[in-house]
Symmetry: C2
Subunit: 168 residues, 2 copies
DNA sequence: CATATATCAGGTGCACTGAAATGA
DNA sequence: CTCATTTCAGTGAACCTGATATAT
């Protein structure tokens, strides 16, 4: 039947000789062989690195994403921002509250459609984005430290292909 | 919703037909150019696919991971399982409560070290794992549907290299 | 004494849902 | 009335920390 290993590591109660950490047990092949698990591990590492950097500046990854979208595509309504970045309408409210509180964006009702809030990047927001860009690049670099430049490029291409299937 | 997908596949219909800037910009380059963001998107898609399948059977990804570890490496204490899988000791309790409630594992104090719970896979657990294996494979396949077999292999290799820097 | 294990009690970020109020 | 936008209230899985009781 299923073996009751009584310890799996060593035999009878001899753990006191912790002199050499036997490198952590390997990962089950059922996990390490699937892309979903590998992506989850890699993504977790990435978010940890990114969060560690951004948290010191009082923002998270979504705040960075919003600033980036506003810089690259100009002012937009909240719903439009959410659609573009994949942020839920409900979370967008809280994200913009923080950004507005820090003076990085301003919300003003759109005169053409007063349901909408036109979210505009401020000068302070643009300056902050410039600072954050470096942090993100550092996190990305730390995450990819084990890969050669060619491998990094390969990885980016594969992930883009995976996320945007139809785009050439 | 379409939070996870391209974000602009069908669009909200006639809303944006009168836009002054026809150039549609799916994702800010600051995001799509970084690996951390790409990994986050891909991982989210993967977890959604996986969760959708596993939820119908009343389990999550961690429950699957525990069953996989028990099958491949035999019975183990909770702390050992957590170390191997990257699950926090605190979450492991809740995960095993579910698995034990479903009869997939059993917890019994280790006679050699009575601090430990020896977690053992039951026959029902082994049978469940066999079912879950197919679901995970399906989710993985759906996630990778846009990649060729060669590209999939490439991606797996790169991710393994990224997660386990010192490949032994 | 110190260490390890299992458990409980939280906190946080994030994905997500439902419903309300407002306006097109 | 129908639909879109913003906001609020709340759920749930994951990640994480601290503290406690028990055993080594």
């Amino acid at each position: 039947m299923f073996d009751l290993d009584t310890g799996a590591l060593a035999g009878p109660a001899s753990q006191a000789d912790a002199d050499a950490h036997p490198q952590h047990a390997p990962t089950p092949h059922r996990l390490s062989g699937t892309v979903v698990w590998l992506l989850g591990r890699a993504s977790l590492r990435g978010t940890q690195l990114t969060r560690a950097k951004l948290n010191e500046h009082g923002v998270g990854k979504w705040h960075y994403a919003v600033l980036a979208a506003l810089t690259e595509f100009g002012a937009a309504a909240q719903a439009e921002l959410g659609r573009r970045l994949g942020i839920d309408r409900s979370d967008m409210v809280a994200i913009l509250n923080v950004l507005e509180g820090q003076g990085f964006v301003s919300r003003a009702p759109d005169p053409d459609d007063r349901r909408r809030n036109s979210v505009v990047l401020t000068e302070a927001g643009a300056a902050a984005l410039t600072r954050f860009d470096r942090l993100i690049a550092e996190a990305d670099d730390a995450l990819l430290s084990g890969l050669s430049p060619a491998e990094r490029q390969q990885l980016v291409g594969l992930l883009e292909h995976l996320i945007f299937p139809a785009t050439e």
